[in-house]
Every structure is written in structure tokens, then in C-alpha cells.
């Protein structure tokens, strides 16, 4: 196993491409997107009503080397500031295969 950093970013589905582009621009090329994420934060409750996909959030999960975290955070922070969302960075172990 290899120690890495795990980034979990909750963002509006309509803004997911911005986050993915930001990750790519600093060299983070691997990610997983989980759609249909709902919850509540400082910008109100995000329900998945069915009639509109406007409020649907998604979660972008990425595992990357520690050296890429700071540049990625610098790129992602303005997106979160403008559009809302959440970014968590934690330690993880990558099972190499």
C-alpha cells in the first residue's frame, strides 16, 4: 500500500466540469464522480426533487500525491467560494494493483 491524499469535493452537478478541469490542470487526472448527492450547507438545502436537476450535487473523489494537494486546493477554492460546495482532504492508503 502507498500513502496518498484523498480529496472529496461536493459541488453542484452543473459545476462538476469546472472542478474536474481544475484538478486536471494541476496534474490530478484520476477521479470518480458520484451523482445524486443531496444535503444541506450554508447555502441552503439541496434536495433532488426530480422535476429539476438544478439542485443536484455530485461528489468528486480523487486520490493524489501529497505534492498535488496544495496546487489543487488553490484552483478549487475560488470555485467553491463562487458556487458553494465542500472540499475535504484526508490521508488514505492506496492499494496498488
Amino acid at each position: 500500500m502507498k500513502p496518498i491524499k484523498r480529496m472529496e469535493i461536493v459541488i453542484g452537478t452543473v459545476h462538476a466540469d469546472r472542478v474536474i478541469e481544475a484538478l486536471r490542470s494541476v496534474g490530478v487526472t484520476g477521479y470518480t464522480v458520484i451523482n445524486g448527492v443531496s444535503g444541506s450547507g450554508d447555502r441552503g438545502t439541496r434536495r433532488i426533487d426530480g422535476v429539476s436537476g438544478a439542485f443536484e450535487n455530485c461528489m468528486v473523489i480523487s486520490a493524489c500525491d501529497e505534492s498535488l494537494v496544495d496546487p489543487a486546493v488553490k484552483k478549487i477554492k475560488p470555485i467553491l467560494k463562487r458556487f458553494g460546495g465542500l472540499c475535504l482532504v484526508s490521508d488514505a492508503q492506496w492499494i496498488m494493483h
Binding site: 453542484g12 452543473v14 441552503g44 438545502t45 439541496r46 422535476v51 463562487r82
Partner: protein
């Protein structure tokens, strides 16, 4: 107002199913339509109403009065956010006032569809109660102008100095003018609802009677049943947002209720000036008095992300929409009948 009109409306199957949805949510039933189904139902309803409108257009002539109605519809959609914004600014910061103004300037396709269903249920033999197919075009045209006006208002009035006392952060100064207009206009004019509606309308115009006969069993016969199912889900969705009303406050709730008949009255006045039939007048009133909860939120989340959808969607979906489909539609028709008598 003729109480029998109100009772007739409340007894239509679609409204009763809406009530059932509300009841299920209030008693915390586990009733739910699986996620993709409401979206499928909304596409079906828009496609059916678009096709039917197109066929009616194909059968009728487009004259000056039709063009005037369409222009008036666009005008109403663009002008409504202007005064709504300044009224809402008394209570809200710029982003929220702009988003809500856009919401109330744009339209609710489901309210329109419910109104057409109501007109159909009257079983009136008077042709004046049969709306023209061009009203579907009016609905499609009214979706987007309010979005553009709302975003322009948010951009123009965004000022940290003006909003220093607001509860949420104003639009940062460095972000002013940074909006991706290409993305916004694509969302405003080419969102899924507009594409299905306008596309179906054009297809309806293009096909002949034989083509309509071949597709009618799918898009016309099951229409009312599908509307019942969709409104059952809408009842669930609207009632589940009722808990958010606490955060909105009495002033906004009052705006959400009062703006519907006020804006509908403007629609009625325009219809009266243009001399259209009662059916067209009701649909124009409903379009003017309704508020969007599909197209506008999608665009606002892109263009005015600082606005809280918990305010503008809750007002539209949990207050204005139920008011319009239960009380509003028969109320507007009563006003129209009094004026047209």
C-alpha cells in the same frame, strides 16, 4: 367568484392527485416515484402539449393578433422581473431578489398544462374557451426573457457597499461582468424543457393530419392520466418543501401569494386589450401569474450562485404553484368571465 368554478377545479382528478401527494407528504408516507420517472413524465407532458399546440397552429392561421399575443407574452416575461426586483429588494439582498424576480417573471409549464386541462374539463361548446395552439408558443417564449433580465439585474446592482447589511455575501466586485453569457444563454434558451416544447411544437406544425392521427393515441389519450401521476409527485415535492417556509418569512410568503393574482391580472388586462377569447385569456393570465421552478433554478445556479434556492424555489413550488392550480385558475377565469360578459 363563482364557487362552483372553484369546486369544479378542486374536483378534477389532477388536482385531487396533487392533494393526495400533499397528504402523503404531510403524514410522512413513504410514497415516492422513483427518481427518473418524474423527469420522464415532465418530458412527456411537454412533448404532448407542444405537439398538440403545433397541430392546432397548423390548422389555424397565424395573423396579426397572434403575433401581438406572442409579443405581449414576451413583454410580460421581461417586464415582470423589473418591478418584482425592486419590491423584493425591500427584504432581500441583490442576488436573492434577482433570482426571485426571474423566477416570478418566468413561467410554470405544469400550471399552464393544468389550466388547459381545466379548460378541457369545462366541456364548453363555446369556441372562445378553446385556446389557440399559439398559446403553447407563448409559453415557450416566456421561459427565457425573465432569466436574462434577472441576471442583468443581479450584475447591474451588485455592489458590496450597497449590500453591506445583507445576510449573505454580495457578489464580489472582481466577479462583476465575469459571467459566461454563452453558457447562460444556452441554459436559458436551450434547456431541456424549452427544447422539448419548441421542438414538439415545430414537429406538430410539420406533420399532417395523418401524422397526428398516428401519434394521437400516445400523446393525447393518456395525457390526463399522466398529468395525474405527475401532479401526485408535485404534491409530494411541494409539501416536502413546506418545512423550508419558516426560513422565508411572512413578507416573502405574502409576495408569493399576492404576486400570482397581481401578475395574472396584468395578463388578463393585456388579453382584454388584444380582444382574445376567454380560453386564451386564461392561459395568458396563468402564464403571467405562475413562477418557474425548473428553467430558472438551473440558470440561476449557473449565473447567480449566491442566491439561495431554498428561498426562490420554495416560494415558487410550495406557495405559488399550489395557489395557482387550486384557487388561481378558477379565480382568473371568474375575473375573465366578468370582464368579457
Amino acid at each position: 367568484m363563482d364557487v362552483s368554478l372553484l369546486l369544479d377545479n378542486l374536483r378534477t382528478p389532477a388536482i385531487l392527485f396533487f392533494g393526495l401527494g400533499v397528504f402523503a407528504a404531510v403524514v410522512r408516507s413513504d410514497l415516492a416515484l422513483p427518481q427518473p420517472i418524474p423527469k420522464f413524465l415532465s418530458v412527456y407532458l411537454l412533448m404532448a402539449i407542444g405537439l398538440h399546440g403545433g397541430v392546432e397552429l397548423m390548422r389555424s392561421e397565424i395573423d396579426t393578433s397572434v403575433v401581438l399575443i406572442l409579443l405581449a407574452a414576451v413583454g410580460l416575461s421581461a417586464a415582470t422581473p423589473l418591478w418584482s426586483f425592486f419590491v423584493l429588494r425591500l427584504k432581500l439582498d441583490v442576488p436573492n431578489a434577482a433570482a426571485m424576480a426571474a423566477t416570478y417573471g418566468s413561467i410554470s409549464a405544469v400550471t399552464f398544462i393544468t389550466a388547459t386541462n381545466f379548460l378541457d374539463s369545462l366541456n364548453s361548446t363555446d369556441p372562445a374557451y378553446t385556446p389557440g395552439g399559439y398559446m403553447v408558443a407563448a409559453m415557450a417564449l416566456m421561459e427565457s426573457p425573465a432569466i436574462v433580465v434577472g441576471v442583468l439585474l443581479a450584475r447591474y446592482f451588485a455592489s458590496p457597499a450597497k449590500d453591506s447589511d445583507s445576510s449573505s455575501d454580495p457578489l464580489p466586485q472582481e466577479d462583476r461582468g465575469k459571467i459566461d453569457w454563452g453558457e447562460l444563454l444556452r441554459e436559458a434558451f436551450f434547456n431541456g424543457a424549452v427544447i422539448v416544447l419548441v421542438g414538439s411544437l415545430l414537429i406538430g406544425i410539420a406533420i399532417d393530419e395523418k401524422g397526428w392521427d398516428s401519434i394521437q393515441p400516445f400523446v393525447y389519450t393518456p395525457f390526463k392520466g399522466v398529468l395525474c401521476l405527475f401532479l401526485l409527485d408535485m404534491g409530494l415535492v411541494a409539501a416536502r418543501r413546506l418545512s423550508d417556509l419558516r426560513r422565508c418569512g411572512p413578507s416573502l410568503i405574502a409576495f408569493a401569494i399576492l404576486s400570482a393574482p397581481l401578475h395574472a391580472s396584468l395578463g388578463i388586462a393585456v388579453a382584454w386589450l388584444l380582444g382574445v377569447g376567454q380560453g386564451d385569456a386564461l392561459l395568458l393570465a396563468v402564464l403571467a401569474g405562475s413562477a418557474s421552478y425548473i428553467a430558472v433554478p438551473a440558470a440561476m445556479r449557473l449565473a447567480v450562485p449566491e442566491a439561495n434556492p431554498g428561498l426562490y424555489v420554495t416560494m415558487s413550488l410550495a406557495v405559488t404553484f399550489p395557489f395557482n392550480i387550486t384557487v388561481g385558475i378558477p379565480l382568473y377565469l371568474a375575473i375573465i368571465e366578468a370582464l368579457w360578459a
